[in-house]
Amino acid sequence: MSVLNIKDVSKIFPGGTRAVDTFSLDVADGELVCLLGPSGSGKSTLLRMVGGFETPTSGQMTIDGDDITHVPPERRPTGMVFQSHALWTHMNVFKNLAFGLKLRKVAPAEIKRRVEAVLELVGLGGYGTRAVTQLSGGQQQRVALARSLVLEPKILLLDEPFASLDQHLRERLREEVRDIQQRLKITTLFVTHGQDEALSMADRIVVMRDGKTEQIDRPDIVYREPRTPFVAGFIGTMNLIEGTVANGVFSKAGYSTPVPVADGPATQAIRPEALELTLATDNAQGKVHRVTDFGTHGLVDLELLDSTRIKAMVSHPGLFQPGQGVALAPKAIAAYRDDILIHRGALTPEIAARRETIDA
């Protein structure tokens, strides 16, 4: 039952690098929040500050109202799982898990009971006597998770825990961790640069860039309604087309579509699945470059008349051949100007009708 509050936290490294810049976030009880961003976005630094391994230059952090900003890591109610698992190789699995309990002067019988229970929880029952180095990568990461969980931390911190694992294992562990987190209702902060990890696990996603927040929202909203072109481009595949708006019509090299905003330069964002293609000979707005068949769907790479590359998802990839002319019909678009969202909308019948007059 724990709440984490981060208020106006900044971290400036001695070299002058501003890793985290006046960052604020409130994590609710039992919530799993993902910090998502490219490398260098400050997400790991932020997590390490919550764990106590870095000291904020300014700002405040509290857990359940208690100020922890300057509390050393050994006295924080946080548990961290490292990317490199950081298990102590000179101890076996049991001793790795028991170390923290011993420091807390828990009775040996109680230690044994709790360690065995948590090993059971992560699916490694009976592995206590194994040497850490005998375990596979996935098992090592589970032990690392168990080592944090056995101490029942108020806040669980996960620093790209699956980054060193292969794809299949990553997907399985992701589900397991999510299950365990929900069963224990433990408040969790999770750092990742993998958008699929964030989308599949998080209650809320914090998209970070250059130490600042770009957007904090539910995964589906971050995906469907990205607030900046950066978020739009970072989560999922997104076509970002730079063009100009004149008289309510966005145009770029023969491609045009109505966008009800003031005249000027704009960036249009369309998901590949929101872009409908039709074969066209006369009014072709683009040319098919490559068709990839994924079985469940196909992806068409196409070039606008000025060679701008965009992607469209199609249900029947067999219909398209490289070199063919196509017409584009976006079903949902967003427009940005100066990194700010200025328009979002599905095409209403009324606008669709206007488009037909433009196309004609």
Partner: protein
């Protein structure tokens, strides 16, 4: 299947093995043989008479026994002092930033970069004024200098090789920095540090020039005694018996090393 795979004869390897055997094992064999020889005259290839006569004569001497105990006391004292001084210093070099860090670090190399005897003579001059010549602690001091390189450089490599995340994970589960050092850093670096301690013990035990120049004639270690035996008496067997005696500690040390230190971490200490 594997039985079908023929290993090619590695002639380079065999050449190396033969040359190394000739250079290292043969002299040892000759010295070993001399130690158990009563009579061995030219041109016979093997001694005319084997026996323990010279062992009895050597071991009957009081100066041999006193030099053995002197050597052991010295080696233990120097190793313990060196560990107490060098290990915390090595940790500081490995984990902390301070002004002059790299200059200090490389200064330990200086003691080994110049002709050692020149350095020793200069130090002897200073010790003479300090009344340290011919004293136990004078020899301890001079031998400490010799161990510094091993006892700083190898543990620094060992501490640096310890994963910082392991230490952070220990802090995370509630260990204080001191506890992290004892429970995580030291055990992780342990085998390599044991190798350094072993090297410094054996190195001190066999050290001759410093012990001779600073300690003689009052402080007589086993190697110093051996030199005077060889210089003063034209009987080869005395020197040979003492050589065999001198092998004992290094042999025990090596056996101990094989048990405690696995070869991997031993090599890591040397940057391997």
């Amino acid at each position: 299947m594997s039985t079908l795979v023929r290993r090619r004869t590695d002639w380079t390897g065999i050449t190396f093995a033969v040359v190394l055997t000739l250079v290292i094992v043969l002299p040892l064999l000759v010295v070993g043989t001399w130690a158990f020889t009563n009579v061995w005259r030219y041109p016979s290839l093997i001694p005319q008479e084997f026996g323990l006569r010279f062992w009895n004569q050597t071991l009957a001497r009081a100066d041999v026994w006193s030099s053995i105990s002197m050597s052991l006391t010295l080696a233990v004292t120097v190793t313990v002092l060196s560990a107490v001084i060098c290990l915390p210093a090595a940790y500081a070099f490995a984990r902390m930033e301070f002004p002059g860090r790299s200059i200090l670090f490389f200064s330990f190399l200086a003691g080994h970069a110049f002709p050692k005897f020149g350095l020793l003579v200069a130090i002897a001059g200073i010790f003479l004024q300090l009344n340290l010549i011919g004293t136990f602690w004078g020899v301890v001091l001079i031998q400490l200098v010799g161990t510094l390189l091993f006892m700083i450089w190898i543990p620094v490599a060992a501490f640096q090789a310890v994963d910082r995340r392991m230490e952070e994970a220990a802090r995370d589960v509630g260990a204080t920095p001191m506890r992290v050092f004892w429970s995580i850093t030291l055990p992780q670096a342990g085998p390599t540090i044991a190798a350094a301690i072993l090297l410094s013990f054996v190195g001190t035990f066999y050290e001759t020039e410093g012990a001779w120049l600073i300690g003689a004639p009052q402080v007589r270690t086993l190697p110093v005694l051996m030199i005077s035996f060889i210089n003063n008496q034209p009987v080869i067997q005395y020197g040979a018996v003492l050589s065999v005696l001198l092998w004992v500690p290094s042999f025990i040390a090596l056996m101990f090393a094989r048990k405690v230190v696995n070869s991997g971490s031993f090599a890591r200490g040397f940057g391997g």
